[in-house]
């Protein structure tokens, strides 16, 4: 009788339980490795954003400083003069003072009073 070469010889060299354990361990290891690399990637991204945030924060502070330097009274005065303008604090007659109920404070000079005398309409209330 001719020998059937295609017939599979069943070998019990490695126990199934052992193979199953190996598969589980390897799966966990691969899973761990995948998670670890993902974590590392995220950490690097966080670090990159941290650096970017610091750089942006520094940049913002520098811009704020430039803006603050432009707001100084002498710079504003200079800018106004360059444009042929001049600013001054309001005169007493240009200030309307009201009490908490909205009535004119007694004894105070008010634009409203002047306008009433002149028969004109109040337009501006400039207060500090």
């Amino acid at each position: 009788m001719k020998r059937n070469r295609k017939r599979q010889v069943k070998m019990e060299f490695i126990p199934k339980v052992f193979v199953a354990w190996i598969v589980i361990v390897v799966s966990v290891a691969i899973g761990y490795w995948f998670m670890d690399s993902k974590g590392k990637q995220l950490n690097q991204e966080i670090r990159k954003y941290e650096l970017k945030y610091t750089a942006l924060e520094n940049s913002r502070a520098r811009e704020a400083l430039r803006w603050d330097e432009k707001k100084t009274p002498e710079k504003l005065e200079g800018a106004l003069l360059r444009n042929g303008l001049a600013m001054d604090y309001p005169k007493a007659t240009q200030v309307v003072r009201l009490d908490s109920r909205g009535r004119l404070v007694p004894g105070q000079v008010s634009l409203a009073r002047i306008n009433k005398v002149k028969g004109t309409v109040s337009t501006v209330a400039n207060t500090h």
Binding site: V9, K40, A61, T72, P73, T93, T123, H128
Partner: protein, 582 residues
């Protein structure tokens, strides 16, 4: 046979795996035991800079007076230049990027005995950083992160703010006094780095974030300060004087609204000026006040009931001998207490001092805050000089000189604070210029509130003295130039000779002062102007030199604070003018 072959294959693979494992184990042991120092090099450590707190004026966080920024300090390590790189190209690129003279950069590269040669000052320039950090043809140039202190308003409030030294430690002014609040706390990051020297974020072991310093809020207003500094500079230049100082104080609270000393300096470049310029002379320089002291002598005499405003004094021909020495006066004849103050009579005030006696006079002056520091929130405050105890007996002349402001030394802050007390019904307030200190998390760590130090005179006496002081700025008074349109002004001029050590009083050097408050009917703020050594060839009295500066400052401050005018006549005149609405 076949089964045996398969067994052999399995064992072969297993042996290979075992050998590979042994190799890995061997390598691990080698790295840990034989080459341990190399592994240590992968340790990463970074100190995070703690930002210094900011300083703001009284307008909140809108106008920072001092802030900190991160910057880079570039340095050269001449020994680490790559042989393949062109030194000329490196020097040229560095000079262009950092905007430094080429010679300076060349000089830095020539110093081969050092591995750290600083290039200029720390810079915040992003473009320079990009140019120098990305260029692969550069070597030998590195940078470290550092913090620089910036003062957006330049010289404004320089004497109040002070400055920080190159190590970032406060060395003058508020920066020094409140350094413990302002300084930040460094942070630390420790972990591991990769072969490219970049931190491995997941290997971070220590992560302590830095804590910024607390913010200091001043009571000073930068707008008032600007006007004060401008007026003082003009006044000093016009009088061709050596310098001057101005203090503006809120009467009811004691808060300082402006404090200026001229000449000033730029806090960011403090080394450009001498140490003498750094001193805030408004409270660290004592001066003989002269006639401005007479108000307190009159106040004390009135409070003791020794005189009334109408009590008459005979000053004769303007010369009064006491303890064998003559005291001269520009006023002659008979005059009452009000006129004595208005015309600043030396003899009448000296006589009032004699009537009071040394003990009472000293007690009153000390109660007004003279002779000891007031506890201002700034370093270097002087207490002044006031004769005490037995010294009065040693020099009998003192009792005729101290009442008129001679033989006594005060600071500008003491003087303005004492005048504020006259305007405040006799209540001496504690002067302060720090409103609050706020930590980065918003917690208020220090809050100054108005506090009364003493009440040397009764309110009605204080009112009487104030009424007398109005006369000083009226027709016939010594301080007519201190007038403010629309507002009544009460004040006093003072002109005192300076002392030349070992010689006596100088014939040419004077302190010219004017101190007053506005509006006199309901005082809101008090201003003291002192001009140091005005040109002797020009008028040099307080009324001629300091009063116009006072007028300018008081006019702007009253309008800026929105104080209602109290002189109806002037207001009516103003009302007659056509009203132009911007």
């Amino acid at each position: 046979m076949q089964k045996r072959e398969e067994h052999n294959r399995v064992w072969f693979v297993a042996a290979l795996l075992f050998i590979a494992l042994c190799c890995l184990g061997g390598r691990l042991a080698f790295l840990h035991l034989a080459n341990h120092s190399k592994l240590n090099n992968f340790e990463y450590s970074r100190h995070l800079l703690g930002m210094r707190g900011r300083i703001f004026d009284s307008n909140g966080t809108q106008f920072p007076m001092a802030i900190s920024l991160t910057a880079r300090q570039y340095f050269v390590d001449p020994r680490s230049i790559n042989q393949k790189h062109d030194p000329q190209y490196i020097m040229q690129t560095v000079a262009t990027a950092l905007k430094l003279p080429l010679e300076e950069v060349k000089d830095a590269f020539c110093r081969t005995n050092s591995r750290y040669v600083k290039l200029g000052i720390p810079t915040c320039d992003d473009v320079a950083f990009a140019m120098l950090s990305t260029n692969k043809l550069l070597s030998g140039v590195n940078s470290t992160e550092t913090i620089v202190r910036s003062y957006p308003q330049g010289r404004r409030m320089s004497h109040v703010l002070g400055f920080v030294n190159k190590e970032g430690v406060g060395s003058a002014g508020v920066e020094l006094k409140h350094n413990m609040y302002l300084k930040g706390i460094e942070g630390l990051i420790e972990g591991e780095k990769d072969a490219n020297q970049a931190e491995l974020r997941d290997r971070r072991k220590i992560d302590v974030q830095p804590i910024a310093g607390s913010d200091v809020h001043l009571t000073l207003d930068h707008n008032i300060q600007y006007e004060v500094e401008q007026a003082l500079k003009e006044g000093v230049e016009k009088a061709q004087a050596n310098g001057g100082w101005v203090v503006v104080q809120q009467i009811k609270t004691g808060a300082i609204l402006a404090l200026a000393s001229y000449p000033d300096f730029e806090p960011a470049n403090y080394n450009d000026e001498t140490k003498d310029v750094w001193r805030n002379k408004a409270f660290s320089e004592i001066f003989e006040p002269g006639s401005v002291m007479k108000s307190f002598t009159v106040g004390a005499a009135l409070n003791e009931g020794l005189v009334t405003p109408n009590t008459m004094f005979d000053v004769g021909e303007g010369i009064f001998f006491y303890a064998g020495k003559p005291l001269r006066d520009h006023v002659t004849g008979r005059l009452n207490v009000s006129t004595a103050l208005k015309k600043s009579s030396n003899i009448a005030c000296a006589k009032m001092g004699i009537m009071l006696g040394p003990k009472r006079l000293e007690t009153y002056f000390r109660s007004f805050g003279f002779g000891s520091p007031l506890g201002l929130d700034l370093p270097g405050e002087e207490g002044g000089l006031l004769v005490r105890g037995k010294d009065w007996d040693r020099d009998k002349l003192k009792i005729a000189r101290v009442p008129i402001g001679q033989g006594v030394c005060v600071t500008a802050v003491q003087m303005v604070n004492a005048y504020s007390a006259l305007a405040n019904g006799g209540k001496v307030m504690k002067p302060y210029l720090i409103d609050r200190i706020v930590s980065p998390n918003g917690q208020v760590v220090l809050q100054n509130r108005p506090s009364v130090l003493a009440r040397p005179i009764r309110p009605e006496v204080a009112k009487t003295v104030c009424e007398m002081l109005i006369g000083v700025t009226e027709e016939g008074g010594t301080g007519k130039k201190a007038g403010v349109k629309g507002y009544s002004v009460a004040g006093k001029t003072g002109t005192a000779q300076q002392v030349v050590p070992g010689v006596g009083y100088s014939g040419t050097d004077y302190w010219a002062s004017f101190v007053g408050f506005v509006p006199a009917s309901n005082p809101v703020f008090c201003v003291l102007v002192t001009i140091d050594r005005p040109d002797p060839k020009k008028p040099r009295t307080g009324g001629a030199v300091a009063a116009p500066v006072f007028s300018k400052i008081a006019t702007t401050t009253a309008r800026y604070l929105g104080i209602p005018p109290d002189l109806p006549d002037d207001v009516e005149k103003e009302e007659q003018q056509p009203l132009r609405i911007p």
